[in-house]
Structures are given as C-alpha cells and as structure tokens.
Assembly symmetry: C2
Homo-oligomer: 413 residues x 2
Amino acid sequence: MSEAVRIQTIDGGVTAAKGFEAASAAAGIKYQGRDDMALIYSETPCRAAGTFTTNVVKAAPVKWDQKIVAESPYVQAVVVNSGIANACTGAEGYGYCEETAEEAARVLGVPENAVLVASTGVIGMQLPMDRLKKGISLLREAKGAGAEKGTAAAKAIMTTDTVHKEIAVQVELGGRIVTIGGMCKGSGMIHPNMCTMLAFVTTDAAISRELLQRAVSADVKDTFNMISVDGDTSTNDTLLVLANGLAGNPEITEEDEDYRAFAKALSEVNTCLAKKMAGDGEGATALFEVKIIGAKTKEQAVTLSKSVVTSSLVKAAIYGHDANWGRILCAMGYSGAQFDPEKVDLFFESAAGRIQIIENGVAVDYSEEEATRILSEPEVTAIADVKLGTESATAWGCDLTYDYVKINADYRS
Amino acid sequence: MSEAVRIQTIDGGVTAAKGFEAASAAAGIKYQGRDDMALIYSETPCRAAGTFTTNVVKAAPVKWDQKIVAESPYVQAVVVNSGIANACTGAEGYGYCEETAEEAARVLGVPENAVLVASTGVIGMQLPMDRLKKGISLLREAKGAGAEKGTAAAKAIMTTDTVHKEIAVQVELGGRIVTIGGMCKGSGMIHPNMCTMLAFVTTDAAISRELLQRAVSADVKDTFNMISVDGDTSTNDTLLVLANGLAGNPEITEEDEDYRAFAKALSEVNTCLAKKMAGDGEGATALFEVKIIGAKTKEQAVTLSKSVVTSSLVKAAIYGHDANWGRILCAMGYSGAQFDPEKVDLFFESAAGRIQIIENGVAVDYSEEEATRILSEPEVTAIADVKLGTESATAWGCDLTYDYVKINADYRS
C-alpha cells in the first residue's frame, strides 16, 4: 500500500506549506554581525506535536515547550534564538521563556500559550532579555511568506553548522496537495558548550492533534534518534511539528491510508533533515551510514547499528578511508545485542561501488585498494547482514577528524 | 578493619613474587626488531583466576583461557604474543591456541592444560605458528627470575603503548610477607585493528582457587572495568591472576581478615595498572579521573562517572584545559541515572589545586584562569557531589587529542 504513495521533493523549507511565514533578525544576543533570531508564524492556529531530549538536565525552553505542546489548544508561533542555550539557568531561565512568549504574543497578537520557544548555544548563561525583546520586534517587521524567508530563518538558527538545512515535500491526501517543510540545526554533537539539535517542521495538512503526535513520535525512532553523534542527548534537543490544516484535505483522524501517506512524507522530511545533521557533524568529511539487515528484531538492528555508528574507532577508520572491519565486528560485539559473529557478512558501499569484506565472520579475499576507493566518497555505507531474521535498521553518523577535536578543545569564546 | 592493612609498594612486576620467572623474545610474528613474545612461569603449580571480555566476539585465546581457568586443576605458564590478536580467526585460530599450549608444555615440561595463552594485535590474521614455536624455545632459554626479566616481558607485550606498565606490592598475611606483582598493556582503546587490554598478576599468596576468583571478580568492578576508553569492550580483554602459595602464609579459605588484606593489596595492584592504561590512552596528554560522590547507590555512582569519563566532548575539553562544566552536567544527564541537576556541586582538582565550579547546579563565580591552571596538569580530577546519599565511584580515562584521531585514522600497516 504505502509503496503507491508518491512523494515529491520541492524547493523550500518551513515556509513551503500554505499559510506559514518566517523571519530572521540580528539581535546581537551573543553573535555579532549575523542573524541570531528566527520566527516561524502561521496565519491560522496549528495543531502542534513535539519530541524532546531525554536528558535529565533539560533546558528551560524544553520545559516550556513540553507544557505548551501538552496543554495549549493550539500554537501559532515559534521564536528561536542561537548563541545562548538557556540551559542550566534555573528559575530565572524559565522565567525568560515566559517573558519571551509574552512579548511575542503581544507583538504578534496571539495568545501567550500559542508561542513556542527554542534556544541553542552556550550552556549556563542567562539570555539578555532587552536584546531578545528588540529582536522579537525586528522579527515581526521582517516576517513574510516565501522560500527566502524560510532560508533566512534556517541560517539564523545555526551555531557550528557549516550549512543551513531545510527540505520540503508534497504528497496528495484525499485529492488535495499537502506540503510538509522543515529546517533544523545541529552538527549532531554539541558545540563547545553549545547545545543542541533543533528541528522545526511545518505542514498545511489537516490532521488531529493525537495522530500528529503519534506520527511524530513513531517517526523519530527511525530518523532523528538514529543519528549517532549524541544527537539524542543534549539538554535542548527539540523537534516541533506544526500543522495548520490549510491544504484542505479531509482531516486525518485515524490510522487510515491518508495517515500512512502523511507519515511517509513526514518521514522523508525527517530523514533528510537527520542525514543533513549527521553529515554536517563537527569536523566531518563524510556522512557515514550503517545498515544492519537480517536481524531477528528491530531492536537488535537498532542496537547494532547505533553501536557501530558511534564507535570512535570506526569513525576514525572512516576518516582514514580504511576498511577496518575488525572494528565494526568489535563494535557490534560490545553493543549488548546477541548474534553469531561467525554468520556475519559485511559490505561497504558508496557512489564508487560496493564490495564484500567478510563472509560468515571471516575476511574474504578483497582488494584493499578497491575498498579504499569506495570509502573515499563523501557518503559511505556499511551493511552488515547478521542472518537471523528479516528486520533491519539504519543509523547515520560521520567520521571522526582532527577538526572535531580542534573545535571541541578550543576554549569557550 | 581494612584501614589497618599496611600495603607497601616495591620495585618489580610479575617476577616480584616468590617463585615466578619471566622472559621475552623476538619471534618476528609481526613486528621486526623488537621483542614480541613474553612468558610468565612459576616454579610450582598455581591457582589461577581470570576475568575476560564480555564482547560477543571473543578472540581464540580468550576462549582457551576461559576453559583452562574453569577446568584445569592448576596453571604454571602464560605465553603471550603481540602483533596479532588471533581474533576473528575461526576454528583455525583456536587450534593455534592448542598448538601453542602443547608446544609450551613440551618445552617447559608442564601439562598442556597448565598453559594459558594471550594475544594482542591485528584482528583477522592467523598466527605464523612456525615463528611462534621458535619463539617458545627462545623464551625457555631466556627465562629467569628478577625484576629485569619482568620488565622485559612487560615491554614485549606492548602494541601502541608508549610506556610499559608494571607494579608490585607487599602485605603481611598471617605473619608472612606476601607479594603481588603485575604487568599490563593497552591504551584502553584498541589500536588500528589492534586489540586489547591484557593484564597479568602474580602472587605468592596461598589462597584457595574459589577465593582467588572471588577477590579478582569483585575487584575488577572498581579497577579495570572503571577505565573509560573502551577497555572493557575489545575482543581480547584478559586479566589473569596466578597464585603459587610460596609465601607460606596460612591458606586463605574464607572471607576473613587475611582475605580482606589480600583483596586490598590486589586492588592496589589493579588500580595502579588500570590507571597506567588510562593515562597511556592513545594520543593522551592527561590522565582524567572522575569521582562521583554523595550517590544514592554504588550503581548510580558508577553509571554517572563512566558517562562523564567516556564523553568525547568532555575529553576534548580536558585536552583544551577548559572548565567546560556544561558538558559534564550534560554527560551525567544522559547517563541513564536519575538525579537532581539542581543539587549538583562540581569541583576540579589537580596537583595545582582545587576549585569549585558549580553549586546546586548553577555556576559559582570562579576564575576561568585558575580553573585552566588546575586543568593544565598531567593528572586532573573532576568531582561531582550529587547529594543523594553516601555512595561513590571513581572512573579513569584520558583526554581526546589530535593524535588519537591520527593514530586511529592511519591505514593498517
């Protein structure tokens, strides 16, 4: 069934769906000479869904958003700043979230509890509220529709990111074209006491709040939670999805064909954003994909793939374009998942070709030169078949480079 | 009670205890122009205890040693080679362990099941048995008592280690001086498809096999298993402890005062060896110690301390001498242990002094210069008080440096 769904990628990001506007502004919160605040705004009220960091240490905006997503009848705006994460800031920091929402509500003419907030940057510093409030006024003046506004917002939320990250797709639901667009920031890893993966997805789909949250919660397991580079562990990790219903499709209220089509399109957006983050990992020169196939259970496949993609030794080998299969088997071995090492087949794959390295746990007679050629591409995949069943999982990460150490050893500045 | 135990550090390593001899030899197994085989030999039969990697992928010598430690009435020799790990080598590799034991047994005049074997080096290559057998003959010729022989053995088992690692202590048990000595290799992390932490401890204590194993199994939880740098996850990790009883102390057969004194001395040896490995982590410039105090349970303290000491971001900050407390709180937060971030106090400590950074989860007004001075020492400690109880744990690791990436990105050679 879901094979029949046609999903088309289009230009744009958070402003691609009907009724969504965006803006960016230079508020001078910490960075100078660049935009550091962004706004996402919907002409009409939205259903909101979110997933948040599981870290015991949660930043103030995470606490605010969790409350709004759970309790508010609808949401209409998201205010984001980069530079300061508003994490480990106590009651004072939480108060600033309230103040931000209050100010944005006043300026935009929406209820205070329709405003979500997000922050990324240094841990432990308080937000300069005077500058942030001025930034909100600038955002209101700058806000508008169109791809350009979405891109400006995607750039304003960057910290150590080297590229801005956005994507939009369209899918037909009940005879109407539904658009889903998104943007995110984060190199997966946390910057020198900077925090966070932030992702924002907007859609004009009509979908009940319950099913929106269900689709989002189900999908992150295969997308954002499968990025290796500590993406799931910062104090600020946030994914927010807003749906304003302006596409005019029959409202999705149960797990029917339309729900599955919407979920598939959402997954395409999330997968794309997640891979962009992994490939832009701090100091990274390559996107590293790990597929476990033939697993007995999905959980086993997830455990094995995440163990490989997070191994420093495997990541360093990818940087060196080295087909170091012993490290991959080793990382699978200590993952906690049970399997028979003497059944494992291992392959490397990239735009330059595909090569088998191990058959039944023992090295085949492969060419190291050929393997190195395949591993020298900017996107490389390791595929391990554990031959225990039919489940699979894919995790994404990046290589470990000198620059990663350099970026993260530098003094905070 | 255990406060009263006097443990004295003495010169030497595996040959410090009565009746133990050692040897090294250049067998040319993979390295050229250096010793790459070592022998530990006891004049008289020994009780043996061991702990081994929990990796699903176990090297052949691990499987052999597990069998010998569990089934043999006694042990008298350990044959070690560096250069090739004999891991992922299938039935052929296991056969070579048997052949090694057989040959050593013949040459040394001991039963085959009294010979333990250990290997460290490249995964996936088979041992050149002709050269290894010649090496065993060379070891027999070279074997002898004295500190020099022990040191030579400690050097022969090195791979990426930059220094050899040995220690010996003495303690009085039942009116007799008992000596415990040990050596180990491993930078904690695995070398470019090299494997392994190997540790060997010899003692002339008289102790029953059951209590020897009990003391060893209990102690590794606080020592070798508390090294961060993947020390517990390679395919070859092995700790072997041999006790020949020649000290003449009344045999330890129950958990009495002598047992506790022995365990304390053993712990001193293991702690020293474990710290030496952590501090010699690949590319490391500093030994990094993490103490969690005030924990509700031991398990909580262990989980928190290991999470901090293994965090790439924390390790990179230590390399940069940066008091990046946000990363430490963050690593505690994603560890899986529950605690209240707003209760945490955090301190840094080294030979240069001690400084408080956080009080009740919020930064105190500390001097960054002072903190950097303290963090610029070759051994630095982070102490986090979670104020939930009286349990504590200490983990050891090292900083993350350019050289770590360099060593591990290089092609296998």
